[in-house]
Homo-oligomer: 201 residues x 2
Amino acid sequence: MLVMSSPSGAGKTTLSRRLLALDPQIELSVSVTTRAKRAGEVDGRDYSFISREKFAAMRDGGALLEWAEVFGNYYGTPAQPVETALAEGRDVLFDIDWQGTQQLAEKMADDLVRIFILPPSADELAARLKRRAQDPAEVIAERMAQAAAEISHWPEYDYVLVNRDIEACEKEIVAILRAERLRRSRRKGLGSFVRDLQAEL
Amino acid sequence: MLVMSSPSGAGKTTLSRRLLALDPQIELSVSVTTRAKRAGEVDGRDYSFISREKFAAMRDGGALLEWAEVFGNYYGTPAQPVETALAEGRDVLFDIDWQGTQQLAEKMADDLVRIFILPPSADELAARLKRRAQDPAEVIAERMAQAAAEISHWPEYDYVLVNRDIEACEKEIVAILRAERLRRSRRKGLGSFVRDLQAEL
């Protein structure tokens, strides 16, 4: 389970998409949200867009691994697709904020790898948010203000990357993923491999 | 601080040399030993070959980070070059066994990354030891017997690799090194970078 968090505009969504295209072993956890769909977003790919009533029912019924309220909208991670993927030996990528990450870490700390992505500078963050250009000006101003709050949670992550260059940052994420899969604690079947090896010696 | 351990013949020495050639940020901790120099070994590169009296004086004077006795010979890691390298921001590679690794982990657990390298099979391990062909037959037999004991310590390592192919194994080590350098706890200077970023937002 790989979590990527960052303030809006630091490049997290682009990096997620590139990683998913690159690595067939990993799949995205598609969050549910009550916010309105933006232009270009696809229901079931970017988010599952649901009503507030549906969200409340999922949350209260224990069907969400984590949830959070951001700018008056609700976001959450449905438990069932994650549990299926993990049971089938696939990795899951979570594009969630610090609130969701804290909840996931409480529930499944052992299997969680947390990456925080920082923008190279405040100016660059502002430029990226303006380039996206789908949000009204007051939302952009609010996101800039929220970025400082989101960034304050960087010490809760296992890895911290500075996204100066998208290709370099992607290579760093690939190396982290590769290394984490080689961790002893994740190498299922190695115990019996070693027992066979020792028996032959 | 990167530790690589494995039974003799699993490819650890070859992998160490390749990694050192590849990565200028890392340097090898050259162990001291009381055993006789083998053909092709260079004093000060493969080991510093010293007398039993010198070894005892270093050990008793606290000049060794770890030491062990293997096949009646003594091996140890001089503290001073390691401390100099770390103070200057370089990484240090240790080609030591499980006994040395345990001692290092007691002294400096936080900064230690431990990799264990397994041979792909008992037959391949035997073939590699015979190919090396510098040891008398009884030493090879003894090393095979010791391999099972060394291998039993794999659960004490952070990463476990199976050396089926030297190039693939090298790439795995490079990914581990790259990822470990991106760990939040090792990213010196990031705290002030984030404070500057937040001040601008």
